[in-house]
């Protein structure tokens, strides 16, 4: 259709530029997808190549451990009152239709990101980051008009929410609680290093797992190692196959349109 439009204007230079950009776009998308596929493939290999350490005898450096999270202190989720190794509470409201239908965040609170990971041999401190916390089970509940006493009590204890609550008055409010508790079996990949100021007789309690300064890897998952590898390998295959297909499609378009444009220019010269 566009080709016909371009022909009708007889502007070959315009058509060439247009299709050049079109093909370039295809090729770039293909390359980006292939890059994502390659990254996923390398990631799967990285997880696969590192054996799991026992916490008791963990060595300094890049390590992979599996265990159950335990609180490094007393962290009681302020709304549900559950004890969590790590919690995050997000309160959002739905503004009026004139401003759209996306939830607007009103309040976000997390406990400190440190918790213990425990296996059958010992425990070790993990310094996580909020972006790794997608592995936490979450509880969501919506409140409309009248808020529950638990939520009111919680919000009253956080005076900074007062202004935001005025805006959310009468609107739908979504309360999301994330709680990392002992029911989640965690897989952690990170760098074990010396814990500042620690002097325990238990070797693993002098260490902490976090994002390393040289190796920046830090990954946490509620899935098993096998599932993580399988997912990453699957993404890798899909991204690489689709990326290559789109890249080849771009090249094919370039070929076909090149032929078409050249035939048209020959025709126009002939006439």
């Amino acid at each position: 259709m566009y080709l016909l439009a371009a022909i009708s204007t007889s502007d070959m230079a315009y058509a060439e530029a247009f299709y050049g950009l079109f093909q370039l776009f295809f090729c770039l998308v293909g390359l980006v997808l292939m890059y994502l596929g390659v990254s996923s493939y390398l990631w799967a290999r990285k997880i696969e190549n590192i054996p799991t350490s026992k916490i008791r005898s963990i060595a300094v450096g890049l390590v992979e451990v599996k265990g159950t999270p335990r609180p490094a202190g007393t962290f009681i989720n302020p709304i549900s009152k559950k004890s969590c190794a790590y919690y995050n509470i997000v309160i959002s409201y739905l503004p009026g239709t004139s401003t759209g239908t996306r939830w607007v965040e009103l309040f976000n609170e997390s406990s400190p990101g440190k918790f213990y990971l425990e296996d059958d041999t010992g425990r070790i401190l993990v310094q996580s980051e909020s972006k790794n916390m997608g592995v936490m089970p979450r509880t969501e509940f919506e409140e409309e008009g009248k808020l529950s006493p638990e939520v009111i009590g919680f919000l009253n204890s956080r005076p900074e929410t007062k202004k935001g609550l005025e805006a959310a008055r009468g609107k739908r409010i979504l309360v999301t609680e994330y709680c990392l508790d002992g029911s989640t079996e965690l897989y952690v990949l990170g760098t074990a290093g010396q814990l500042e100021g620690a002097s325990s007789e238990v070797h693993s309690e002098n260490l902490v797992i976090r994002r390393g300064s040289s190796d920046k890897t830090f990954f946490m998952s509620g899935k098993s190692e096998k599932d993580s590898i399988r997912n990453s390998s699957l993404y890798a295959m899909v991204f690489m196959a689709v990326g290559f297909f789109i890249f080849a499609l771009g090249a094919f378009f370039a070929f076909v349109t090149g032929l078409a444009i050249e035939s048209l220019s020959l025709l126009s010269r002939g006439s």
């Binding site: 090729c27 292939m34 390659v38 493939y41 390398l42 290999r45 696969e48 190549n49 590192i50 054996p51 799991t52 350490s53 026992k54 008791r56 005898s57 060595a59 450096g61 041999t121 070797h203 690489m240 290559f244 890249f247 080849a248 090249a251 094919f252 370039a254 070929f255 090149g258 032929l259 050249e262 035939s263």
Partner: protein
């Protein structure tokens, strides 16, 4: 012109495929290097514990020899094993001697039950605790090391990694596991 465009397009796809293949071969090679490095690191982590344990043996012998007058053979055995592990070559030989040391230590700790004065010695208790903790750590790190070796040995034998492994002389690694014949030989030597 059409021929040139076709050539460029086919060339593009061919170069893309070639780049993917080259990348794959590089990643296989790098993966094997990283697996081999994992083994070296795991070995270094065992070695450091074995050395620490070896260093504690003279202290243990010194502490118990005054009490265990009738168990001289066990003390002589463990001293001999300490010397032999220091000269051991490779994981398998080291594992044979390490297992013999572990067994000798177990014997010493079992025999110590007969000597209440020794059991009350604070230095002995501390050494016993340290050595027991080290034994556990050695067992864990041995498992880790053997996992690393298994991953590597499996990869260098699987196609297509085996082709790259053969090209770049990636050879099979030894497990940290005593060979049965060597184990028996050490036991016979220590026993009599």
């Amino acid at each position: 012109m059409a021929f040139e465009v076709a050539l460029i397009c086919c060339g593009g796809v061919f170069i893309g495929l070639l780049a993917l293949l080259v990348f794959y071969l590089f990643s296989v090679y790098n993966g094997l290097v990283s697996l081999r490095n994992n083994i070296d690191k795991a070995w270094a982590n065992i070695d450091v514990l074995l050395k620490q344990r070896t260093d504690l043996i003279p202290n243990l012998v010194e502490t118990v020899k005054g009490y265990m007058k009738y168990e001289k053979q066990v003390l002589t055995d463990i001293t001999a094993l300490r010397t032999s592990i220091m000269g051991a070559q490779g994981p398998q030989e080291t594992a044979t001697h390490s297992e013999a040391i572990s067994a000798a230590l177990k014997t010493i700790f079992a025999v110590s039950e007969k000597y209440p004065n020794l059991k009350a010695n604070e230095n002995f208790l501390k050494l016993q605790e340290q050595l027991s903790s080290m034994e556990n750590q050695i067992a864990d790190r041995r498992e880790f090391y053997n996992d690393a070796v298994m991953l590597y040995n499996t990869r260098i034998k699987s196609v297509p990694d085996s082709i790259i492994a053969a090209m770049f002389h990636f050879t099979e690694s030894e497990y940290f596991k005593a060979a049965e014949e060597e184990k028996k030989a050490v036991q016979v030597k220590m026993g009599g």
